[in-house]
Amino acid sequence: MSLKPADPGFFVGYFKKVPPAVRTFSLALAAALVAALGGAALALAVSPEHPGSGAYVNDLGDGSLTGILETSPYPLLRVPAADGRPARAVMLAGPSKIGVGQAAAGLDGATVDAGGVFVRRGDLDMLLVGGPVGLRASTAGMSLPAPAGPEPLGRWRITGEICDGKCAAGAMKPGTGLAHKACANLCITGGVPPVFVTTAPVEGAGFLLLADADGGPLPARHLHRTGERIAVEGVVERRDDLLILKVEVVLP
C-alpha cells in the first residue's frame, strides 16, 4: 500500500488547530448538508397525495337531531323528512375512537335525541355524539313515523377501501391508506362504523356502510384487509340516503 501523495493535513477532532484544507472542506460539507436537508424537506413535504377536504362541521350547535335509532349493523339515526329535506340515515360514533353502542343499547327502535358535531367529507358524514344532549331517549314527546324498510339494490362487486367512517370523513387527514391501517382498525374495533370508500360511485354514492352478510357488524377477519384497495362482493341495500353493503366475499 503506498502513501497518499497529497497530505491535506493530518487532523483528529480533538486538535485545536484545524488545517485550512480540512476546514474548507468541512465547511463546504456542512453548508451542502444543511441546504440538502432543507431541499429534501420541501420535496418530501409536498410529495404525498392530497389528503382531501374532510372537516368537522358544527351544524347542530347545542341542539340535537331527533329520529328513530337503529343499532344494526351500527348505530344509525333515522331522521324523518322535514322542511323539504328528504329522510336520512345518520351514522353515529363517539367523540374518540369508540362507537356509541353502549349509549345506544336498549334504545333500538326508540325515538332519540342526538347532539354533537358532524365530521364530513363530500357526501360521507358521521355525527360524533356529544355535547349537552349526547344520545338519549327523546324528551320532545314526538311520535315519529316509522322509517321506511330497507330497499334492496342487488348483488354487487365493488372496488374500494375499508376505512373507519370517522377518519375517512376527515377526523384524520389523511385518514385512509395502509399507513393509517392500525388507527382504522382501532376505530372499527372500538365500534366506529366502518365504510367502504369506492373507486367509482355505486347508485350515486361514493361510500357504503359495511355490514356482515347477515346484517350484523363487520366481522373482525375483514380487519386484515383495511386500508388497501380491494374488491368485495355482497348485497347492497338502501336506508333513506345511506347505502349498506353486506359483505359476502372479499376477493384476494
Binding site: 477532532g13 488547530k17 484544507a21 413535504a45 404525498p48 392500525a182 388497501e228
Partner: protein
C-alpha cells in the same frame, strides 16, 4: 480499560459538529412543517400531527442514511475523516429524532382509544401473514430499540466495559436496524404509491449505501489478498522500500494471515506496529506520529513507538513487530513481540532526514495544539 473516565469531553470541533447537525435538523423540520404548507395546499391540509410524524420520520431515515455513509466515505476519501470522529453524536441525534417520530405516531394514530397506546401498537394490526397491510410499525419499533441501545452504549465507558469486539458486534446491529427501517417505510408510507418522492429517496438511500459499502469492502478485500511478499527468511515479509515512508507517516504491509502491519518512520527510526487500533479497529497506518506518539486517524488514540502502549493513565496496548532493513527494503517479522514489551525502534543507518524528498507535512512549529491522549479519551 482506561482509568478516570470523565463524562463527556467537549471541545470546539465537537460543538461545531453538533451545531451543524442540529441546525441541519432544525432547517429540515422548519422547512417541512412551516415552509411547505405555504407552498402546497396539500401539505397545508394534512393534520399537524401527521405532518410531524412525516417530518421526523423522514428526517430520521435521512440521518440514518448519512451516518451509515460516513464510514465508507472516510475509507474512500480521507477528507471525510472529520465526520467519523464525532459520528456517535450523529447517531444519538438520529435516535432522538426517531423517538420524536414514534411519540408523534403514538400520540395520534394510537391515541383516543380505550386501548392503551403501547398495547394498541402491538394489537391493533395483526396481519403478520400479509405483505400489504403488514404491521410495519413493529419494524419501526425494532429499529428504534436498536438505535436506543446503540445511543445508550455509545459512550467509551461501554466500549471498554464490553470490550471492543463485543461493542463492535453490537453496533453492527445498526445495519439490521437500517434494513428494518427501509421495510418500515416501504410497507407503510410508501404503500399504494401515494408518496413518489419518499419512494425515490428510499431507492436512492439503499442504492447509495449498498454501493459505498460494497465498493469499500472490495477494496479492503483486495488489500487483504495482496499480502506482502515474503522476505528471504521464513517468518519475515518485505513491506516496502524505506524511501517510500514519509517522515511521521507509515506504509502498511500484510502478513500472510491477513494481519496488517504498519511501519512508521519517526525522525531516523522505523517502528513496526499493528495496523489495528485497539479502540475501534481504526487503520493506524493511515495515521501519523504526533508529538512523538503514533496517532490513529479515526479518534486520535495514541501509542508510544517504543512499546505500543498508550501513555498513562491509559492502558491500551497494541502489538509491535521486529523490523530490519535489507538494503533499502523494510522487512518485518510476522510474529509480534508480546504486548507491552519494550522493543528498541530501528535506527536507519546513516539517515538523519527522510531518504526521499517527501514534502514536509508538519505545520511549522510544534503541534502544540494537539493535546495528549488524555484529552482524546474523554473526548471520544
Amino acid at each position: 480499560m482506561s482509568v478516570a473516565l470523565k463524562p463527556v469531553g467537549w471541545n470546539r470541533n465537537k460543538l461545531v459538529y453538533d451545531a451543524v447537525l442540529i441546525i441541519g435538523a432544525a432547517v429540515y423540520i422548519l422547512a417541512f412543517l412551516n415552509l411547505a404548507p405555504m407552498l402546497s395546499e396539500g401539505a397545508a391540509k394534512v393534520d399537524a400531527p401527521i405532518q410531524r410524524m412525516r417530518a421526523f420520520g423522514s428526517l430520521a431515515f435521512l440521518m440514518l442514511t448519512l451516518v451509515l455513509a460516513i464510514g465508507p466515505l472516510a475509507r474512500l476519501d480521507t477528507r471525510f475523516l472529520p465526520l467519523l470522529y464525532n459520528r456517535r453524536h450523529f447517531g444519538v441525534i438520529t435516535a432522538l429524532v426517531a423517538t420524536t417520530h414514534a411519540v408523534a405516531v403514538l400520540d395520534w394514530y394510537y391515541a383516543f382509544s380505550p386501548t392503551p397506546q403501547l398495547l394498541a401498537l402491538f394489537t391493533a394490526n395483526t396481519s403478520f401473514d400479509r405483505i400489504a397491510g403488514f404491521p410495519f410499525e413493529i419494524l419501526g419499533v425494532a429499529a428504534l430499540l436498536v438505535l436506543a441501545v446503540l445511543a445508550a452504549t455509545s459512550h467509551d465507558f461501554w466500549l471498554s466495559f464490553l470490550t471492543p469486539p463485543v461493542w463492535k458486534a453490537l453496533h453492527m446491529s445498526v445495519y439490521g436496524a437500517y434494513g428494518a427501517v427501509v421495510l418500515h417505510v416501504a410497507l407503510g408510507p410508501m404503500a399504494g404509491g401515494r408518496d413518489p418522492v419518499l419512494s425515490a429517496l428510499v431507492a436512492a438511500s439503499v442504492a447509495t449505501l449498498a454501493t459505498l459499502h460494497l465498493v469499500t469492502g472490495r477494496r479492503e478485500r483486495a488489500a487483504d489478498a495482496a499480502a506482502s511478499p515474503p522476505a528471504a527468511e521464513d517468518g519475515w515479509i518485505d513491506v516496502g522500500d524505506v524511501s517510500e515512508i514519509a517522515e511521521a507517516r507509515a506504509i502498511v504491509g500484510a502478513a500472510p494471515g491477513g494481519e496488517r502491519i504498519a511501519v512508521f518512520r519517526t525522525k531516523d527510526r522505523l517502528v513496526a506496529i499493528s495496523n489495528v487500533c485497539s479502540h475501534q479497529n481504526g487503520p493506524i497506518g493511515e495515521g501519523k506520529v504526533v508529538r512523538g506518539f503514533i496517532t490513529c486517524p479515526w479518534h486520535g488514540y495514541q501509542y508510544r513507538p517504543e512499546d505500543g502502549c498508550s501513555p498513562p493513565p491509559f492502558r491500551e496496548r497494541i502489538h509491535r513487530y521486529p523490523l530490519r532493513l535489507n538494503g533499502s527494503r523494510v522487512e518485518v517479522a510476522t510474529t509480534p513481540v508480546p504486548l507491552g514489551t519494550r522493543l528498541e525502534s530501528f535506527r536507519i543507518p546513516g539517515a538523519t532526514a527522510p531518504a526521499s524528498p517527501v514534502p514536509r507535512t508538519d505545520p511549522p512549529g510544534p503541534r502544540a495544539a494537539a493535546p495528549g491522549p488524555a484529552d482524546d479519551k474523554v473526548a471520544s
